[in-house]
Symmetry: C2
Subunit: 156 residues, 2 copies
DNA sequence: GTTGAAAAGCCAAAACA
DNA sequence: TGTTTTGGCTTTTCAAC
């Protein structure tokens, strides 16, 4: 589909390396080496191959928002007035740090956003002062996450 | 709310450390040390404090699903027959590796899931063979993500 | 694609201000 | 909290297989 038709082949060892690092990005490469029983240098080369292929797009520290008092996740379906205004509305959404995800979607609304806030009062404030006020936003539907049961990456 | 009323205070240096590591978990601590102009050992001590507080909940390698042919993200609102069956349905959803997130939500449906699949055919197959077949699932509403514009963590 | 070894660099604890 | 020191590991590269 893209011009880049580079075929990436990953074998069982690559998978083991990736699975390990997907759970803990700071694990020493030599420890992986011991687990998969090849040399550290070999792991290193494989990682360079995987990085070059684009399969590995980085690593992140995961921080726990609850510790900072952020206890509420919500999904908000946003209806926009006119399609032509969408890019501007998205630009405004990017300025709201509580918006963690934003997707153009098929279906009833134009975009679906995921937001993280401290509590329901914070959520209401965000809706009234930061989301609804964006030019082009006509209506929203909010779904509060009561409990997240699954949170993971693609399985390889 | 929890028994653990440990007050965690993070200052500007902690924030700089965290922001750096949230973008690249494998950056050497000494490099952060050079950027924030304190010693590596001090960074190390701060990280131990932050880990102990629970604010840092780990690190992950981020892999790019597109390289493996996974191009389609969708959100699916799931209606369940009876609340009593929910835990069993969740258990079944956990067995579907394409389900990346699963939230009990307020609003029309009982749970909202986020799935990652290769294409629309794969999505349809998942819906017909893996989601709709789960006991207790009565109806679903699917919203395909046409384009994800924002993807980030909490800002600190 | 893998190895082993070597140089460079990093981590983590200790001792102390 | 912060720093410096220090020993032990890890990373990264490279010639050789």
């Amino acid at each position: 589909m893209k011009a880049k038709t580079k075929t990436i082949t990953i074998d069982g060892i690559d998978k083991k390396i990736l699975r390990t690092l997907m759970e803990d990005a700071r694990i020493p490469i030599l420890e992986i080496a011991r687990n998969v029983d090849i040399s550290g240098a070999a792991i290193h080369q494989r990682l360079r191959k995987l990085e070059k292929s684009g399969l590995i797009s980085g690593s992140k520290f995961i921080i726990n928002p609850k510790i900072l008092g952020y206890d509420t996740v919500a999904f908000i379906g946003v209806y926009l007035d006119k399609a032509v205004h969408n890019p501007e509305a998205i630009k405004q959404l990017k300025k709201v740090p509580e918006v963690l995800e934003c997707h153009y979607t098929t279906g009833n609304w134009n975009v679906l956003i995921k937001i993280l806030c401290k509590d329901n009062a914070h959520l209401m404030h965000l809706l009234n002062n930061d989301i609804q006020t964006i030019s082009g936003v006509s209506r929203t539907e909010t779904f509060i996450s009561l409990d997240q049961q699954i949170d993971r990456q693609i399985s390889i």
